[in-house]
Amino acid sequence: MSDALLEVRDLSVRFDTPDGVVKAVDGLSFTVGRGESLGVVGESGSGKSVTFMAIMGLLNRAYTDIEGEVLFKGDDLLTLPQSDLRAIRGEGIGMVFQDPMTSLHPLYRVGAQIVEAIRAHREVPKTEAWKEAVEILRLVGIPSPEERVRSYPHELSGGMRQRVMIAMGLVLKPDLLIADEPTTALDVTVQAQILDLIEALKQELNIGVVLISHSLGVIADVCQRVMVMYAGRAVELGSRDEVFLNPVHPYTWGLLESIPQGGAQSHRLIPIEGSPPSLITPPAGCRFHPRCPHRFEPCDVERPALADRGSGHLDACLMTSEAKAAAWAGRQARRNAVPA
């Protein structure tokens, strides 16, 4: 992809802990283009957040072993000196963190926190920066921003605080916005507001967006491309329609089947058996094979690469596309046939 904003090649992140080396991310590659939204979905511990912490240089390298390449507009963020990285954080890549309750400083007015972000990057007078803060709060849909800019975080509701976080992520007009579970702490009606806002801003500013979420519904709602992660690896990567309508990885199948379907109240849910593996001693071969009902001979030794196996999008599973089509059809039939 020529217009790739962010290109990640073979990224691996390992943490040294007293219990052993945690292989949090293992050989991950993907790209994000301008005006594109990539959804990253996976369960807790699948490496979603760690991947983007590593990309932003937010992990302490003394305890973390990061390998691979992270190209942002051609520069490798992993080898860039701290000072250059500082310039890119905020101006090049904006980040919205998960928890609006703890990510804002409780003792500073929200305006002051936005102004700090502006003045860390640009030499503008304070009054100017405050005006900019008001404008960005208006952009993210905060009513009467002239007054709200002087509010302390505790005076705002969860949805408003999350809007402030998004405002901070956007105030320097970054080319790429990384939103890590931006709606997880919010109620559904507020979640809908925030997702609409991110989508509108993406179109208005023509930026790339990465949305990290454990909720398939949120991802399906707003993202054009979807990457499914499991135990530190991408297992499926494709357009939203491909991944949700023709999923090809058994883990994606399991995730989709775990969600209650509207109108099918009497159906039993089909959970994925077992629980996610330890990342200190991950299973050999395909990391999903111990929980996979379709595993066969080489799954426990041979690691499947993320590649197009004839389904039109990328997946990391050793089954042939014919076998997958048959297995998925079988699973759908079984699911629809469950008696009340």
Binding site: S157, M160, D187, T189, G217, G262, G263, L269
Partner: protein
């Protein structure tokens, strides 16, 4: 839960239906006073957490309670379990009026009502082994017998390895811990289990395991559930009937099929439309109604219908972004039967099949 049976109120196994519901709640009110002053404390206001809530739960039924944070779901649950004392109103549990029961009067009934909590990390004592945690109800209620065997039976029943009797909570994953919480709630064979967001803290693949477990146990023991969640998909899946709360009041109640397919209250419709639909409905282009603003403060709830400041339908009727019909502003609508057990508290409920429209200017 075999839906057909449960919807008619007949549990698949266990206690015979007596005709009267297991839980009957009428005009329940809970206010938390707000006090100012250091020595001479005076009350300067109250948080109206639960306002005039009435509902029944039949034996063997699952009643889902949904709403946004701060709408009074958990307070209602705590009142039903009598962990809180109601300001006014009546709670009848299994024929006993427990609304003002003292703690000694409550004691024998505590065995009948158990809770499963949201956070399996915070609701288990980290310094007690699984065996101690699950056998605590036996010790508290002086139940004779071989506690170890009883606990191991429970562990097997909730899908845990009974050999893990001596392990501690930190050795288990979130899903396994929630199984411990369920086993503890089940220990005294209660009639009612109040599940307060039991799967919200779990990953989706694990959520499904716990939801299935709760359904199996209901069938096996004829349990009645009050199931609280903000996840509308999960509530629809487990509940026979669903009550929607907004700002301390129930605004709509009905069987889950009717309520989800045919919401009559504008808030219910907006709430359902806000749920990310996943792919299928996305393609079919279901309109999402984005409510403006936030939920008002329960310290100072708006007069009239609690939803009127955000209601798209009220604005559509008045034909203006800022005006709403006088009735909505001044009079509180009561729950009115809409047929088939569906009840709605709205002056202008949506007609069957009517789609909630965003106000013209949006």
């Amino acid at each position: 839960m075999s839906t057909d049976e449960a919807q008619t109120g007949v549990p698949s196994a266990a206690p015979a239906v007596t005709g009267s519901p297991l839980v009957h709640v009428e005009h329940l009110v809970k206010e938390f006073p707000i006090r100012r002053g250091i020595i001479l404390q005076r009350q300067i206001g109250a948080v109206h957490a639960v306002e005039d809530v009435s509902f029944d739960i039949a034996t063997g039924e699952t009643l889902g309670l949904v709403g946004e944070s701060g709408c009074g779901k958990s307070t209602t649950a705590r009142l039903v379990a009598r962990l809180l004392e109601p300001t006014s109103g009546t709670i009848i549990f299994d024929g006993h009026d427990i609304s003002q029961a003292s703690s000694s009067e409550m004691r024998p009934l505590r065995r009948e009502v158990q809770m499963v909590f949201q956070d399996p990390y915070a609701s288990l004592n980290p310094r007690q082994s699984v065996g101690q945690i699950i056998s605590a109800p036996f010790r508290i209620h002086d139940i004779e017998g071989d506690h170890k065997t009883m606990v191991q039976d429970l562990m097997a029943r909730v899908g845990m390895n009974p050999e893990h009797y001596n392990r501690y909570p930190h050795e288990f994953s979130g899903g396994q811990r929630q199984r411990i919480g369920v086993a503890r709630a089940l220990a005294l064979r209660p009639k009612l289990i109040i599940c307060d967001e039991p799967v919200s803290a779990l990953d989706v693949s694990i959520q499904a395991q716990i939801v299935n477990l709760l359904e199996d146990l209901q069938e096996e023991f004829g349990l009645t559930y009050l199931f609280i969640s903000h996840d509308l998909g999960v509530v629809r899946h487990v509940s026979d009937r669903v009550a929607v709360m907004y700002l301390g009041r129930i605004v709509e109640v009905g069987t889950s099929e009717r309520l989800y397919n045919n919401p009559r209250h504008p808030y219910t419709a907006a709430l359902l439309s806000a749920v990310p639909k996943g792919h299928e409905e996305h393609a079919s282009g279901v309109d999402r109604i984005v409510l403006t603003g936030d939920v008002p403060s329960p310290v100072n709830p708006p007069p009239g219908c609690p939803f009127h400041p955000r209601c798209p339908k009220a604005r559509l009727i008045s034909g203006s972004e800022t005006e709403v019909p006088e009735q909505c502003r001044t009079a509180v609508p009561m729950l009115q039967p809409m047929g088939d057990g569906q009840e709605v508290a709205c002056w202008f409920p949506l007609e069957p099949g009517e789609k909630l429209q965003q106000a013209a200017t949006a």
